[in-house]
């Protein structure tokens, strides 16, 4: 069973002038996007209109959520560079127009969360971005890409904040499944690719350097230790699923 909003096709048809250059990812990794890139800003009405539609589209497309979140940060003052990145995203959508979320019936009743952060990825204020994607069996059910509010001084700190964010959503989904009477056959697992962050969630190492993120720290650790709600593991594979949303 494949679900996708018909809006992808409607959306791309509105822009028939797009040339069909081959693009294989939603955002370019070589051209960084900054708030002030030296080019003059221009009329932002059209830009805002497209970003608004893209935000709606990301309800069924986890693969564009990072790109849409990034481009949304320039809504107040878009420049030709941002406009070019948006058009590139539209080209990507045109190429993947028939993609949707595939829900599979024969899958294990388990809850798996992948979390990640791009440390200091924002070139304007050096904040990081938290991302997570949650799978029920092999069906994606929840995802998010969000700019962190405070600057992280180490990648562990950035990853840990992302982990806390992902943990709270996982607990919410866990309680929803419990209410629905849906039984999981394993404890929900939270996967993160930072060894420091996994160690931190198990025991209080590096306490002196982590004092300032105590709320997140205790939140995740409590879930892990007292309630046995979740297990937190370091992900071992090289190419991970969450890379799909953070590119």
């Amino acid at each position: 069973m494949v679900f996708s909003f018909p809006s992808t096709s409607i959306f791309v048809i509105c822009y028939p002038t797009l040339t069909c250059l081959e693009v294989c990812s939603p955002l370019s990794t070589s051209t960084p996007l900054k708030l002030n890139d030296g080019t003059a800003s221009f009329d932002n009405t059209e830009y805002r209109r497209i970003i608004g539609s893209l935000q709606y589209l990301s309800l069924t497309r986890p693969n564009i959520s990072f790109a849409v979140n990034k481009l949304s940060q320039f809504m107040h003052k878009p420049t030709p560079t941002h406009w070019a990145a948006t058009k590139r995203l539209l080209r990507y959508l045109k190429q993947t127009i028939f993609h949707g979320i595939q829900l599979i019936s024969h899958t294990h009743p388990s809850l798996t969360t992948f979390s990640d952060a791009d440390w200091a990825g924002n070139l304007d204020d050096r904040t990081s971005t938290s991302v997570y994607i949650i799978f029920l069996g092999s069906n994606p059910v929840s995802w998010s890409s969000k700019k962190q509010r405070a600057v992280a001084r180490s990648s562990t700190e950035a990853e840990y904040r992302a982990l806390a964010n992902a943990a709270s959503e996982t607990v919410w989904i866990h309680s929803l499944l419990h209410e629905l009477g849906f039984k999981l056959n394993t404890t929900p697992s939270l996967l993160c690719d930072n060894l420091g962050a996994t160690h931190l969630s198990h025991n209080p190492v590096h306490h002196s350097r982590m004092k300032h993120i105590q709320i997140d720290l205790h939140f995740v650790r409590d879930l892990y230790t007292s309630c046995s709600y979740i297990i937190i593991q370091k992900i071992i594979v090289n190419v991970t699923i969450k890379d799909a949303i953070i590119i």
Partner: protein, 152 residues
């Protein structure tokens, strides 16, 4: 004054869809006709006589509303509480985690009810039970049975 009508969270829809696919259940979609007109009003509200329907003998009179009407601030909330009361009467429980989700679990029967203002999705493991709920709901509100879910 409450003016808010909850909409279902995208994650809740995806979880329900996922469970439905995993169990091979059917999905029914319903649409309520003129949803906001079903709500009851707790406040006294007056309205100018609508253009074209003015009583020429009493042009200075106003109408007192007995029920909610479109454009009224409290209409979405009034509709939600009317629907909620009806669903709770059928034996459903309001979910603690998402207020627009209603759950029925009794013996082996499971039934989920999703509310997106006037769009409703109903699913469960017993199609006879789902049919009876749709029928009972049809007696309370005028609704359009859209058949199996294709767009939400």
């Amino acid at each position: 004054m409450e003016t808010f009508s909850p909409v279902v969270k995208p994650a809740t829809i995806r979880i329900i869809l996922s469970i439905v696919v995993m169990n091979g259940w059917g999905l029914r979609q319903l649409d309520i006709n003129n949803a906001f007109l079903h709500g009851a009003l707790s406040e006294t509200v007056y309205m100018l006589q609508p253009p074209g329907f003015k009583d020429l003998s009493k042009p200075g009179h106003v109408c007192q509303l007995r029920k909610a009407i479109y454009g009224l601030k409290q209409a979405p909330w009034a509709w939600y509480s009317a629907l909620k009361t009806a669903i709770l009467q059928f034996g459903f429980k309001n979910s603690q985690t998402d207020s627009s989700l209603f759950i029925f679990r009794y013996t082996s029967i499971i039934c989920y009810f999703l509310v997106y203002v006037d769009d409703l999705v109903i699913t469960g493991n017993n199609s006879d039970f789902v049919n009876s709920i749709v029928k009972q709901l049809g007696c309370k509100f005028s609704l359009k049975d859209m058949g199996s879910l294709h767009y939400f």
